[in-house]
């Protein structure tokens, strides 16, 4: 069920990216570098949300490494632009692909993190309620425990 949901979200994201990239090209105003930069920010937004949703530090670290790789491709695209437009375009495309992949991964991570957080919160609440009930019973019924212990002692004394 979770896999289906993640796959659906991933497909939706890819479609959104494709449509927005097409729109950017049609407008004729955005360069491949601009598009790559926008995708990096979009991917960052999703990774940030995954982090806030409680994704594990290891998962976020991996996503951050991917984003940094996308950034370095984008930097290479900028550096190559004055002398080698084709090379610059290749790096911009690499950056775009890396950002898109990272965003899809981040969606999956976020979905898993939300489930985990929910379970963890449920566990915490249950533990809190159980401890509360246990402690209350102990305090209220403590006299019964005392009586029980006293009776056991008396019985032992009689036997002796």
């Amino acid at each position: 069920m979770r896999f289906r949901q993640s796959a659906f979200l991933g497909t939706l994201l890819l479609l959104t990216f494709s449509i927005s990239a097409t729109t950017d090209n049609v407008s004729g105003q955005s360069t491949p570098i601009d598009i790559a930069q926008n995708k990096i920010v979009q991917a960052f937004q999703i990774v940030n949300q995954a982090d806030l949703d409680g994704a594990s530090p290891a998962a976020i670290s991996q996503l951050a490494s991917n984003l940094n790789l996308a950034l370095s491709y984008e930097q290479s695209a900028i550096q190559l632009l004055p002398t080698n437009k084709t090379g610059s375009g290749v790096y911009a495309s690499l950056s775009l692909n890396m950002s898109t992949t990272t965003a899809v991964q981040a969606l999956n991570v976020a979905s898993a993190a939300r489930t985990q957080t929910l379970l963890s919160q449920l566990g915490d609440y249950s533990l809190a309620v159980a401890s509360g009930l246990g402690s209350t019973l102990l305090v209220i019924e403590f006299h019964r425990v005392k009586n029980f212990v006293r009776r056991v002692r008396l019985r032992r004394l009689r036997l002796d």
């Binding site: 940030n48 550096q79 809190a128 509360g132 009930l133 209220i140």
Partner: protein, 187 residues
């Protein structure tokens, strides 16, 4: 019974909750000897032409979530206005920048390798042609006899609500500007 349960449950939940902490980003410029000093390898503040200096920033993110951090470089002189806790040194031209994604609780090392290619005279001042991280940079800011130049390094973070980099980082209630400077003479 209900009151007792409520009190004990609250105490247990409080004990299981994470303690609140104040978010911050810490950073520094490190010399090749991995210290916050000795930037010019024991020759005072003088930097000769073509001498390559390899510094790096270490930026630690304790903001509670991943940050998109930018470092802006400016070259000023003794009369340039400093950045401050609320505003960057906008009057001093930017000569470069770099950015990095840093997960919460991690420290990123960002290289800053630079050299002076040539010193030129302009209006009685010495202006510098430099290379920073492999990029040739010409700064319009000059200095008398090439003395008392200074780098301003400003910390910026990407604000998703504003959809752009903003100076400093989001503190409790307001943004906190953060900057560093290193003086040098072009000798």
């Amino acid at each position: 019974m209900a009151s007792f349960s409520l009190i004990y449950s609250s105490i247990t939940y409080y004990a299981l909750s994470k303690a609140p902490s104040q978010p911050f980003i810490a950073w520094g410029v490190f010399s090749p000897s991995e210290t916050l000093s000795n930037y010019f390898s024991g020759v005072g503040m003088n930097v000769t032409t073509h001498k390559i200096l390899t510094w790096h920033f270490e930026v630690t993110n304790q903001m509670g979530s991943i940050q998109y951090v930018g470092v802006v470089y400016r070259l000023g002189n003794s009369t340039s206005n400093n950045p401050n806790a609320t505003a960057p040194a906008s009057a001093t031209p930017q000569i470069g920048n770099t950015s990095r994604f840093i997960p919460n609780g991690q420290t990123a090392a960002i290289n800053f390798t630079w050299s002076i290619n040539s010193e030129n005279q302009a209006g009685g001042l010495v202006v510098l042609n430099m290379t920073i991280n492999g990029q040739q940079v010409f700064s319009p800011i000059g200095s008398v006899k090439g003395l008392k130049f200074r780098f301003f390094f400003e910390l910026w973070t990407y604000d998703l609500a504003a959809n752009s980099f903003l100076y400093g980082y989001e503190g409790p209630g307001s943004r906190i500007g953060n900057w560093l400077q290193i003086w040098f003479n072009a000798a």
